[in-house]
């Protein structure tokens, strides 16, 4: 009985917090299934659920195309951030060179620079390079992230130096050491960083808003905005689009949830 009470005391706040976290998602899905006349009802399940909002969304905007754009942009950004982070972390931890401490400090500092500060120069540059309305334009300015470099530098510091030395004695060059020895043994931090970078890129709003002009070239966060009109918000359609936008991330989590939690725990990213 005492143990049960203790368990309840421990679990009760967690249950409340979980409900708080899950409720907005639940409300989004429920609203997306509500017909127009029920939108503002506070019932936890619509009286007559329908998929008409989904049909409307797919008809009103090129949703599949937008989802694909978002996926391509997020996957490319995550991959680029992991690759650049990996190379930078290897160089910072394995090579002794003058100014390596300063380089690392500057990378850490760049993390503190707000997006609003680099937004205009990046926009001007992207325009001059002809990257408006392109996925490359969305990816390249975010291809290197200070967070990725710092996380991987940290992971690489605790990587056994002897393994790298052994590979070098075996005749492997730096690239080969990185690809064949370091990467297979740093899967946990690489996976967690990749997932974080993917989610962060998927949720990107401002940069795509600046860079994309055409609806078929944009990403899902901008697509959602299409249902906020001067005549008022189309809540049902917006929630249907938001649900569709969340599905890939949800699917990614459902498939990989064991690995993601494991890698977050092991890599120390929480």
């Amino acid at each position: 009985m005492k143990a049960d009470t203790r368990r309840l005391v421990v679990h009760a706040p967690m249950i409340v917090l979980s409900l708080l976290a899950v409720f907005p998602v639940w409300w989004m899905v429920v609203t997306s299934l509500k017909p127009e006349n029920e939108i503002f009802s506070t019932r936890l399940w619509p009286a007559s659920p329908s998929l008409e909002n989904y049909a409307y969304v797919l008809d009103a905007i090129p949703m599949i195309r937008i989802l694909w754009n978002t996926f391509a942009m997020a996957a490319a950004t995550a991959l680029a951030q992991v690759l650049t982070g990996l190379c930078a972390a290897y160089a910072l931890t394995r090579w002794r060179f003058r100014g390596s401490g300063i380089a690392q400090g500057l990378i850490a500092l760049s993390w503190l620079v707000p997006f609003q500060l680099t937004m205009i120069p990046n926009y001007v540059l992207a325009t001059k390079l002809g990257m408006l309305n392109t996925i490359a334009g969305l990816v390249i300015p975010n291809a290197a992230a200070a967070f990725a470099v710092l996380v991987l530098t940290n992971a690489m510091r605790s990587f056994p130096k002897d393994l790298i030395d052994a590979a070098r004695m075996d005749g492997a060059g730096h690239l080969r050491v990185l690809c064949e020895v370091v990467v297979p043994n740093l899967r946990a931090p690489l996976a967690s960083l990749g997932v974080l970078a993917f989610i962060s890129a998927w949720n990107e709003y401002f940069w795509p808003l600046l860079l994309t002009r055409r609806i078929e070239d944009t990403v899902v966060q901008i697509g959602l905005q299409m249902f906020m009109t001067q005549e008022g918000n189309q809540w049902g359609a917006m929630m249907a689009a938001a649900t569709l936008a969340s599905l890939p991330i949800l699917l990614l989590y459902l498939v990989l949830h064991r690995q993601i939690i494991d890698s977050f725990m092991r890599s120390g990213i929480r």
């Binding site: 056994p160 002897d162 393994l163 030395d165 070098r168 004695m169 075996d170 005749g171 080969r176 043994n185």
Partner: protein
């Protein structure tokens, strides 16, 4: 010609000089052990030979070829690391064959060579296992197999036995000796364990503070330590060292007018401060006598084959060792030792002093005489 020639090697890490102008030649097929305390630069020296660190100054030649600026994989060296350094994501076979894979050796030939080396090291049944499924000894044998498979010109061992228990260490010591005998490959073995060094080396190098204190065969180094440091570092229990002063006649006088070795006359000017040393096994205990300090037995340690007795007297610590079963002093005793067993090191430089030329005692292996003495 697979010898190693190191000339004027210096290595600095920032402001700290770790290797300070070192010259060393290692003959082809030689098993050289580098011995020294932690931080003496022995592992750095090995890494310089391997190419894992760049020299600040000096030249490294292997087999007559200048490899000072060569990449590690191109020097023809293979290294066995202290903590094995096996690739955790590869099987035993994968670990052993990795160097061959990098060198572009065809898969079939790799498999053949892995099988041959695995047979030599009795690893045949473990080829599909991963490192975490192996015991410490098995891991070290895999590490040795990985080094052997490329038929290197030089083997480099960086304290490879220090993570193993005593029994396994003794076994692997023998295995390495046998492999060296069979393969005849030039080997450089770094350790801080003097037993390992003494038992394995064709030749030993004792390092301290980034410099070579002495190089020679284990017997030369044990019998005639060139410096005060080597004298104290080699031998277990450690050599007894007494601070002394050279008198007008060249004899070493320990504080209080005691001449523990009156027969030895040193080629040093009178008044020179010296350290007078004697191995614990060479100490001759005797009955207390006037003019000699009395040592009081403190603690004895029985190590099976011999017994070590630690004693104190006149502000000095003394250790003597005797074969197991020999009678040890139970009460106060005095001490002397023959000139041939005495070692004298000049106080400032720590360099070994010679006996005066007129005096050439032949070093005989003194047998323990305490058994014939009785202390009551």
């Amino acid at each position: 010609m697979n010898g190693i020639d190191l000339s004027a090697i210096r290595k600095r890490f920032g402001e700290t000089e770790v290797v300070k102008g070192l010259d060393l030649t290692i003959a082809e097929g030689e098993f050289l052990v580098i011995l020294g305390p932690s931080g003496c630069g022995k592992s750095t020296l090995l890494r310089l030979i391997a190419g894992l660190e760049d020299v600040t100054q000096g030249r490294i030649r292997i087999g007559g070829r200048d490899v000072t600026h060569e990449e590690p994989g191109r020097r023809g060296c293979a290294m066995v690391f202290q903590n094995y350094a096996l690739y955790p994501h590869m099987t035993v076979a994968g670990n052993m064959a990795y160097g061959l894979k990098v060198a572009g050796v065809p898969r079939r030939e790799r498999a053949e060579r892995v099988a041959r080396i695995a047979g030599m090291l009795e690893l045949g049944a473990l080829l599909d296992r991963r490192p975490h499924e192996l015991s410490g000894g098995q891991r070290q044998r895999v590490a040795m197999g990985r080094a052997m498979i490329r038929s290197p010109r030089v083997f480099l061992f960086d304290e490879p036995l220090s993570n193993l228990d005593a029994k396994l260490r003794a076994q692997l010591r023998l295995d390495i000796k046998r492999l060296h005998r069979d393969l005849g490959t030039t080997s450089v073995f770094v350790t801080h364990d003097q037993l390992e060094a003494m038992t394995m080396a064709d030749r030993m190098v004792v390092m301290n503070g980034g410099r070579i204190e002495q190089a020679g065969t284990p017997q030369e180094i044990y019998r005639r330590p060139a410096t005060r440091f080597v004298a104290g570092f080699i031998g277990a229990p450690a050599m007894n060292i007494f601070p002394a002063l050279i008198d007008e006649a060249g004899r070493a006088m320990v504080s209080g007018g005691w001449y523990p070795c009156p027969d030895a006359v040193w080629a040093l000017p009178p008044g020179t401060e010296v350290d007078l040393g004697v191995r614990p096994a060479d100490v001759l205990p005797g009955a207390p006598a006037p003019g000699r300090p009395a040592f009081t037995p403190d603690v004895s340690e029985d190590v099976g084959t011999e017994v070590h007795l630690h004693a104190r007297g006149a502000g000095l610590d003394l250790t003597l060792s005797a074969p197991a079963g020999a009678a040890l002093p139970q009460n106060d005793f005095s001490v002397s030792f023959p000139a041939a067993a005495a070692h004298c090191f000049a106080g400032e430089s720590g360099q070994r002093a010679a006996l005066r030329p007129t005096q050439k005692p032949e070093r005989t292996d003194e047998t323990w005489t305490a058994t014939s003495l009785s202390f009551t």
